[in-house]
Subunit: 468 residues, 2 copies
């Protein structure tokens, strides 16, 4: 397989062309084939599709000259692929992680065309998964394929491509544990984060963690008539609003006792790096379509998102939901909460603190039940240490000497903490996602020239890691 | 038609028998026929059933010797029936109001038998509408029928029986206005309230009013990822919980400025009468199945329900409602509120105060929209004045000299205020409903001997009103 420009300059995308490594028709055809698998991991009816896509990936890795294998799991299979320089020389090994599963996508969600039939519009590939994560992992595959074809990469390479990232990566940790020896590596590379902007090379050096729980309150044993009992029987919705309103103080700080006790204080350079991203509060407000921003006093929007933990109410429900009024005093009310965590907060500890606080503040007029859901640790990898400087050099090189941006991502990629825990290595987060790529939304896009750009970044990264 | 005991003592109900005016087989058969009409006014497919039941009522009134008429409306028809003593003597006129429509009833709701096929179990008639309101209005019909048969009642009588009480009586006010001259009367009588207990004659001398509104908050223009924006973009659910938690202070008082300014202070005898009802806080708690009661400090449960206004959250919704967690920062959150009002609060004024307060307290991080729903005035009829003493004498007489209880009902019967406004008369609320009759619930019941008891009460009432 040769994805380089064997038949000329490839597709003219109109989105700017790179003068080196033009994308071949074959590479684009393969990328589009990859996108055509409707690998919606949340949809149980797609089990066969997941296997077909994994088979397709295995075949591509083999065509690249890698040793590929499909590892079945209780859910979607994991695809592993290894390339080792012949001769048994002791070299560094880089693990590249990605996922072939995608978020759900239906025409009714606002897509302007079939989400699983890729279209190129003004240089942008429009399809579910075009960015998240098929485009990004495929760019790494292009980079490695090219190096193998040209005589071999400067490090050994292992790909781990799973099919359950969008549903919590439930089965990946067991695979990493079972294959711990084979997957031994010096560092991991993940392209599943945002860039600061188009052609602004970006190293994401931290992720927020998360913990999730549900609160269920029960007041009266059955729904009551609000006229017949209202005023004497306490409404569980009222209690719930008081419990939840009490999660923040008037300065936007979370009130749970001890919530901030382990929060890492960012260094001065980090706050400067956050400013240097050039993302103003006004820009965040515009993206969100929010009347005005809010949050913890003393921080900019981008700092609140990257550096500070949150208490979020993801859902609330209770009583009558239909049209018009109904004079019910309901029996139950409930809410779903998530807390975004920053280093060095511990999801289990925070969950325990939240549960304790809610139960302490809950009056005896209702019964409270707290159900704990999944958690994920926050992640922090100092870009001044370890393979950080190598990543910075590689990013700058791949973008022709551009200044590298440093980002703290507000979201969570639990697998990064799992990689550290199981394989003992840090992860370099070198995403190719654009802020407006609409990952998880309708009409998800990826700049087609970023397949080549990502391949170039992959090659620079492996070179720099080899030298580090 | 003769509903008196023409064929002996009638049905032995096992629930105690009255030695006078035994219920005839014919009366019970007619009552059961009345109950068999599934007159669920909330169900648009029942339009024909509503007309058939109105026709049946018209025929019964005619059989009683009254002049009956069906008045069509935009919804279910209203049945009017008049009886005037021949000779044109100037006498008092009593308007008796009731309704032939019922709440929905499905086997799936927990009924132990067909809700529209009446069964007698241990002296209790089990059927939808058995109490609310077919049993109660039918008892009045029995009383009047018996008096007409025996030579005439001591007052002129007008029945107004509507078919839309359970859906807001939308069309009744127009009928009252259009027939204002014909419906001219000295006092109205309604049996649609609870008794303090079985064989505890009860005069309900006040009802709470109501005003209803919906609050809709919009934060970001679309649902956001709670990782990518959480901490900087304000969550409308969080704002909603703060707005709603702020509706009460720590003493359970409503915080809306001016909310209590027109609240009538009950007289000392009223608080004593409330105690005399013998309904303890523990009993209210037991009925509600609530872990513990709450509410406004300084009042018993029965006082909170009857004498004090409330702010109730009837429904709340926002964000993710499915199983498990979802990391969404939602665009919208909303709640349905009702406020129960006491004399002399004005629904429109209170709604305006609530809307003003919510808008004032709402931060600029979200957009707020308040939608006003229906309202109903509170009602108060001093039992020491007007026809109150006549009603008290009649109730005592009908129950063999029992002490009469005075009740302030927590619910709302908007039509009572409409009668006062349009016809200019007070309403005597002499309900026959038992606290455990399960009106609006599954297996609604009515003591079968209360048809006779109610008829006796009706006759005593007309006699006492004539004399007052």
């Amino acid at each position: 397989m040769d994805w380089r420009g064997c038949r000329g300059a490839g597709v003219n995308t109109g989105y700017g062309q790179n003068d080196r490594m033009p994308l071949s028709d074959q590479a684009q055809a393969d990328y589009f084939d990859f996108l055509r698998f409707p690998t919606v991991s949340a949809d149980p009816s797609k089990a066969q599709t997941m296997r077909e896509c994994a088979d397709w990936l295995e075949k591509k890795f083999e065509e690249m000259g890698m040793k590929a294998e499909i590892v079945p799991t209780a859910g979607a299979p994991v695809v592993l692929a290894k390339w080792k320089k012949p001769g048994g020389l002791k070299r560094k090994t880089v693990l590249i992680y990605g996922h072939y599963d995608v978020q759900p996508a239906e025409m009714g969600d606002g897509w302007t065309g079939d989400p699983f039939e890729p279209r190129v519009i003004e240089g942008m590939v429009v399809a579910r998964g075009s960015t998240d994560n098929k485009g990004q992992i495929f760019a790494h595959m292009l980079g490695v394929a090219d190096m193998i074809r040209s005589g071999g990469a400067e490090t050994d390479v292992v790909f781990v491509v799973e099919g359950e990232e969008e549903v919590g990566s439930d089965n990946l940790e067991a695979v990493l544990r079972a294959r711990k020896e084979e997957l031994a590596c010096d560092v991991a590379v993940v392209s599943d984060t945002n860039m600061a902007g188009l052609d602004k090379p970006t190293l994401t050096y931290g992720l927020r963690g998360i913990t999730a729980l549900q609160v269920d309150l029960t007041g009266p044993s059955h729904d009551l008539h609000s006229g017949v009992y209202g005023g004497a029987v306490v409404n569980p919705i009222t209690v719930l609003t008081r419990l939840l309103a009490g999660l923040h103080d008037k300065n936007g700080r979370v009130t749970i006792p001890g919530f901030y006790s382990k929060v890492r204080k960012p260094a001065a350079w980090e706050r400067k790096a956050a400013r240097d991203l050039g993302v103003s509060d006004a820009e965040v407000r515009r993206q969100a379509g929010s009347p005005a921003l809010g949050g913890e006093a003393g921080f900019s929007a981008i700092e609140r998102i990257g550096m500070r933990p949150t208490a979020e109410i993801n859902g609330i429900t209770g009583g009558y939901q239909g049209p018009g009024p109904k004079t019910v005093l309901p029996s139950k009310a409930s809410a779903k909460l998530t807390f975004r965590l920053v280093p060095n907060q511990d999801p289990k500890e925070i969950t325990a603190r939240v549960e304790k606080d809610l139960k302490k503040r809950c009056p005896k007029t209702v019964k409270i039940q707290v159900t704990r859901h999944h958690g994920g640790f926050p992640y922090f990898c100092d870009p001044k240490k370890g393979f950080g400087p190598a990543a910075v050099r590689a990013l700058s090189q791949a973008w022709g000497g551009e200044k590298v941006h440093f980002l703290l991502e507000g979201g969570t990629i639990p697998i990064v903490s799992v990689i550290k825990k199981v394989l003992g290595v840090e992860t370099l987060l070198v995403g190719l996602s654009q802020p407006d790529c609409r990952a998880h939304g309708p009409d998800e896009t990826f700049p087609i020239r970023y397949l080549e750009q990502g391949a170039k970044m992959n090659q620079a990264l492996l070179r720099q890691i080899a030298k580090a």
